[in-house]
Symmetry: C2
Subunit: 232 residues, 2 copies
């Protein structure tokens, strides 16, 4: 009964996992555009229509991959943040940023899938929102901890009044109790981080920059200063 049902359910879960795993492999190899249900089924040694027992459509499979990617990246960032707890704030910021970069470089196509141009005709469902937020929350956590331990020194900021309510709402939403100027700078650092990675990974710096790692480190350290992170 429960056990036997369990068997079927487990088989089902395993097959679904195999499908997603194969899809991820193809994504990693050829990018999102090259991902097809037929190719997945082919590789799994199964007729193409069989896949539809497990996945409603190509878009649903894409969604699963997107969630996977966000979760994977989010976990990496969270781990680094946790592992560096207690260390000086700027150091932690750099560490988490590095973890993000390491993940991005190791998962170029996954990175492109979630941070590149949107897949045409695909609308990301709500299920992706929470996983997507994980990296950002890990970064924000570093700022929050810094504020709590006196390692945050708000810069002399003049934020336009029009922005203040929105920034306050945003800060509250992520449980961050800092000056609006710090919120702006954290946002700036956030976009900065991913801007660098996109340029590096999408080839925009080709021919111009060689030592990406070093440049990344310095830039990210500068951003920490700009946010106002300073060791106690």
């Amino acid at each position: 009964m429960a056990r036997l049902q369990g068997i079927r359910e487990r088989a089902r879960a395993e097959t679904t996992a195999a499908i997603v795993a194969e899809a991820r492999r193809q994504l990693a190899e050829q990018g999102a555009a090259g991902l097809s249900l037929r190719a997945v089924s082919r590789e799994l040694g199964v007729v193409s229509s069989a896949v539809y027992r497990y996945v409603a459509s190509r878009d649903e499979l894409l969604t699963l991959l997107i969630i996977d990617a966000y979760d994977d990246l989010g976990a990496a960032a969270e781990q680094t943040a946790a592992a560096s707890a207690g260390r000086p704030a700027p150091e932690r910021w750099v560490a988490v940023a590095r973890a993000v970069r390491a993940w991005a470089i190791g998962h170029r196509h996954e990175y492109a899938l979630v941070y590149g141009s949107p897949v045409p005709g695909y609308e990301a469902p709500q299920d992706t929102v929470a996983p997507a937020a994980r990296v950002s929350l890990a970064l924000i956590g570093v700022v929050r901890d810094a504020a709590a331990s006196g390692q945050l020194h708000a810069p002399p900021g003049d934020v336009p009044v029009a922005l203040v309510p929105e920034l306050a709402a945003l800060a509250e939403q992520v449980d961050l109790d800092v000056a609006p100027a710090v919120v702006v700078r954290t946002l700036a650092a956030w976009t900065q981080l991913f801007g660098m990675l996109s340029f590096e990974l999408f080839g925009q710096t080709k021919g111009a920059i060689e030592h990406h790692a070093e440049l990344f480190d310095t830039t990210v350290a500068t951003m920490a200063v700009t946010i106002g992170l300073r060791p106690a």
Copy 2:
């Protein structure tokens, strides 16, 4: 003779232009993935093979569009830089950044084409390099002018030694005679700018940020300060 040859040549140029124009229209509507030679020929009221008289392949058409996009954006940035010549450096920086944003918003798919995830299987040829550099050079020009007019105050910077030669080479390449720390920060501002735009245009800030324009302006102004731009 020359005139008559000219007639044929002109017809040729016009048809080619019509093809590119129609391709651009389709790009703007559905993005790069939705661009097909067949659709272009259909819209032009011509049999699909006819297009091959003017364009060698789909990839070549893509290249033309990429060059067009870079040139269009580059021209917008250059114009703004030129129009603001003589004004205070931070103001100019913001003005050019705004021009870039305005272009990006008005040309979302073109933006995605050149700054989004690379088109799989497509390798950008050398012809795109120079047009691609135009925006960057316009931004750098503002920094150069600032340096020349005493509006650049290099921040107390500690750039890793390993980076110095590369930064020096890079600066020389774009005829920028400033401290390594300024180069780093200019690069940072550059990636920052496009990072913000990508996040805004690719929907990464959906639900989190409403007042994009205001946030953009403040952030970009902050970046100007970080670079070291200050009115004389």
